[in-house]
Symmetry: C4
Subunit: 346 residues, 4 copies
């Protein structure tokens, strides 16, 4: 299947205050490769992404027990991609190979960071990754030990940059405090949840870190597990391949937040439909473009179960410029969740 | 021989202020493997420990001239244990392979720390140990040289953490002073003698180090060479396999401390018997549980000459919670050696 | 072709405030090897240079898409030169192997500096270079990242010294600021354009850096693409092998600066002819000697398309001492571009 | 030839304020191995030294163009000595393999220190030396570059300690200043000329360095090329194997210092003869013992052209204790060169 000629030119953004550039749209291994998507289809999605200009592929030791990394490695070999053209990441926290005793195979101790990195590189078939993330904070391991261990990875050439995923702002600041004190390298990027429905962390909590430490963001779940695509408008699509999974997902959501909350969310999402229509894009593309409109976002990590879905995601790039201040204001009005501006002290 | 189903769930504790977790009960190579216990029996003890949840195995270059490390390496290979499931330690100070000239094959010079580490790893058949100890202080080598050399081991990936064994509190503090000054890693754990009869160092001398540098303890001799098991109640057991050794041990003790002191110690130990009986545990288990009751103890290193003895040790974990404040007070009354509380300045 | 016996003894100069000595005349790969000069001829030029005492050979990952490095490696092997007799440099900025996606294959990010260095060493067939340059400033990558990455190359033994090419004085000073703050190694040399017609940067802008950080210079284009040789006196030489290229070069110059400027430059150059004649040297040699007269110049990088041209360049060394203060003043009068002296604050 | 049973027990001394111990008597490669002594004889001398308890063997890249290192390597292999029993040194400054162009194959630049170390290790057939010396100061290379390069050798495991040879006190202090500033390792030992006739540097110039930086000394020429052995009492011994060399040596001495000076030196040396006789030792042994009497001397490097000469040197150890304060005063009276005491400021 040839790449559609109508794709927009990929946009590359600097990863925070680093010298590395990542594609604004990236592909994540959580659902797309190594997971429930069948392998040949996964590889086709990865190729579609690469051919569309995606250079950043995201993995984690924990995704499908390490399989996302294995499929990533297979893609690089099969398609003959050059290492220097790629930005490969992985994340350490939950060991992919628990062994008999999980006790030191998770968290951010020096032991797991080094052993986990070696195991990930072995699954990937690579000498190094570009980005290594601390996949959640580990509040039981001293921050200094974690900062030193990630610097060990960089100093031994096993990773180029390190970052965090779902850390609090003060935890990121604390990591930088140790890095500065010891003359070490601090975390350059964070991988948070960010989408129209989850704004607090990215738009308010991290605000001063963009300026202070040059934090870059590689955000996940930009369409919030499909909710922002509008597909739940009429309940679960009955003939969907993932119908059963959807049912469970929605059931889970209900249980946690209540039916009332769910209905109000679906109502909000429905109100976004006319805006998407006016712009000539799908609701998914509107949601993705809205995420990329935030200049602190270096890349939005997307999932896909077919090459066409990859192309649809990439096309969202064209929609970013269509999001005028007026339209952004209209969206804020619908969402009713814009965090209050941070007033600088005076 | 299958693992008894009645074993308690192993408890894991953080090694001081590090991110590493060690089993509260661990197995030491001093007497158990590589020493006078026959090899197949040693390996059976190690398997029994591993199957009971023990993840920390302690060696030293000096134990049986390096044989504890060789047997350790053999166990890992024979039982197919995963490296990441294990916390392996060794200790440097007395070189296991003296060569013709012992002069630089002991102490904590840069030369012996590097050469000793390489020799230990080669005997273990491993790329790295988790813990490396300075097996005694070396008051003739500058502290800075020792601190730098252990950091060299960590920086070259040959060890994850370094610590001390039988150092004075001020020597540990001094190591941290150089580490802080130079931005290096300080010793995270100490391996002292600790049991009901030897309390001063752990309970008083190190007190401020737990708070200041987060010192963790992996204590040895929790049953004081068997004295606390009550087996010397009636003199040396005549048909004991180690009778001769016991005689020599006791003779040695007499010579050093006098028959009077010995008798008074045995009298004290006898008074502990009813407490053990009341709790439904052996005297050895009482002694072990008492050591683990101290929250600054990360792990108690035990020896064993049969798998059953390993299981008996592990069962002590169940007794820890039975040690109520009242019982602890009663024990203190019998032992008459509780160090006076440290009064903070005011 | 034997080396002419009449060649002057090569002069070696310290590379700024370093312990490395480079030949005052060096050979650059930009035009000479790997480029449009045919390979066997390139190798002959390199041998002629080596036999004349040239020890410094300059490459870049970008010169002819990496071919200058490949030919350099071939020369070392073919002629059996000893590695320790040579000072080999290369420069990173534009990746020689762009792959499919140039996005991270240029600039001074940690990723490109490490990947680019590895690729250059592989093309050169060497374990290390003596000098590694940042080939232009990268104003989008944080200076700290660049300084750390070049130190990574030095710490891993892949380069001995690092420097810059065509950076502004304040950018060099800023690199040193980070190096000093972090206890790292700063850039020891700069590779600027320097010749009779382009004096501002070397003679004025960098002035305080010679004193402050001991900056050394390896200057390129000492004859300004041939203009200072006098060969454009009568327009483009019609039968020149490079006539077509010359026409294009001159056309390009015209477009950028205008015919008027060009004519005035040629007029100035013509006025230098009698001075060269009086000294008994060619105009090219005068231009080269004039560059070497500046004590801040460690080496002048020359090009050549034949061994004879190499020898002619080397002979310029004899002319340096002939440049008396009186002659230097006469040249300044003709050039009318001597930067005003920097008045120290008082 | 068996080792004579009458040899004294070798004494080991700490190398300054380091954790390394060296034999008080050591063997130097300058004249003994790789030089004019025939190889099998050299190896016999080395074995005699080793069997006498000598653990420190001194080499240099420049001794006999690298041959001292090659013979050293051969001795280790042939006699099956264990690496950890040995303290092997070498010295960098004059490259042993000059190649075609000596320009960067000497001095203390980063280039020569790294290239020279690699070449020395290759000649020695070793992975590392214990001691690496800067063989003379290099006043043209910045001290910081030299200090960093020796630390590079230590950090990459190619050497354990670094030191200097024939540096001035202020140069050693300056090296320590950079080491302290940058958190690096300073030079722990110096290799100076020291004997009864050359006392100024060791006894006066370096005085504060013993206290301040813990400088250790491995002194060379303790018998001053044989002068202190008394063998020149009656001019050059006519049938000596080295007669011709002696003639040249003495001729050289005359030329430099004048016949008058020479005669007065021989007269002084003659006056030492009765002292040696009284102690029942040879004049050489007296001279050696006198050097070892200085507690700042870690080792005296000796030469030998036969195993018997090695044994004679080792026996000097027994004479050290015989040098009472009274005898030392008598010697000072004869030598008339005791540097004035350094009066501490008050």
């Amino acid at each position: 299947m040839p790449t559609p000629p109508s794709l927009p030119k990929m946009e590359y953004r600097f990863l925070g205050r680093s010298g590395l550039q990542v594609s604004a749209i990236s592909l994540g291994g959580w659902l797309t490769y190594g997971g429930h998507v069948e392998k040949e289809n996964s590889l086709a999605c990865m190729k579609a992404a690469y051919d569309s200009g995606v250079n950043f592929f995201d993995c984690a030791e924990s995704y499908s027990g390490g399989k996302s990394e294995e499929v990533m490695g297979e893609a690089i070999k099969r398609f003959g991609w050059k290492r220097n053209d790629l930005v490969i990441s992985t994340k350490l926290y939950w060991g992919a190979a628990f062994g008999d005793n999980p006790v030191n195979n998770k968290g951010l101790s020096r032991k797991h960071i080094i052993e986990g990195m070696n195991a990930s590189l072995s699954r990937l078939g690579l000498d190094y990754v570009d980005l290594i993330y601390a996949h959640r904070p580990d509040r039981l391991t001293p921050m200094e030990e974690t900062v030193r261990a990630f610097n060990y990875l960089i100093n031994t050439g096993k990773a180029f940059y390190w970052g965090t995923s779902e850390w609090n702002a003060d935890e990121i600041a604390s990591a930088w405090r140790y890095a500065d004190k010891l003359g070490l390298i601090g975390p350059v990027m964070e991988q948070p949840l960010y989408n129209m429905l989850d704004r607090e962390k990215v738009e308010r909590e991290y605000a001063h870190l963009y300026r202070e430490v040059g934090l870059g963001l590689t955000v996940f779940s930009p369409i919030k597990s499909g909710i922002l695509s509008g597909k739940y408008r009429n309940g679960v699509p009955p003939d969907s391949r993932f119908a059963q999974e959807h049912v469970e997902f929605i059931a889970g959501y209900w249980k946690r937040t209540g039916k009332e909350k769910w209905d109000s969310v679906i109502e909000q999402v429905n109100k976004l439909e006319p805006i998407a229509k006016d712009l000539g894009v799908s609701q998914s593309q509107l949601a993705l473009a809205w995420v990329l409109k935030n200049p602190n976002v270096s890349s939005a990590i997307t999932g896909a179960s077919s090459p066409d879905q990859v192309y649809d995601n990439v096309k969202a790039i064209d929609a970013v410029d269509k999001l005028t201040p007026e339209i952004m204001a209209k969206i804020d009005e619908i969402l009713e969740n814009k965090p209050p501006a941070i007033i600088p002290r005076f």
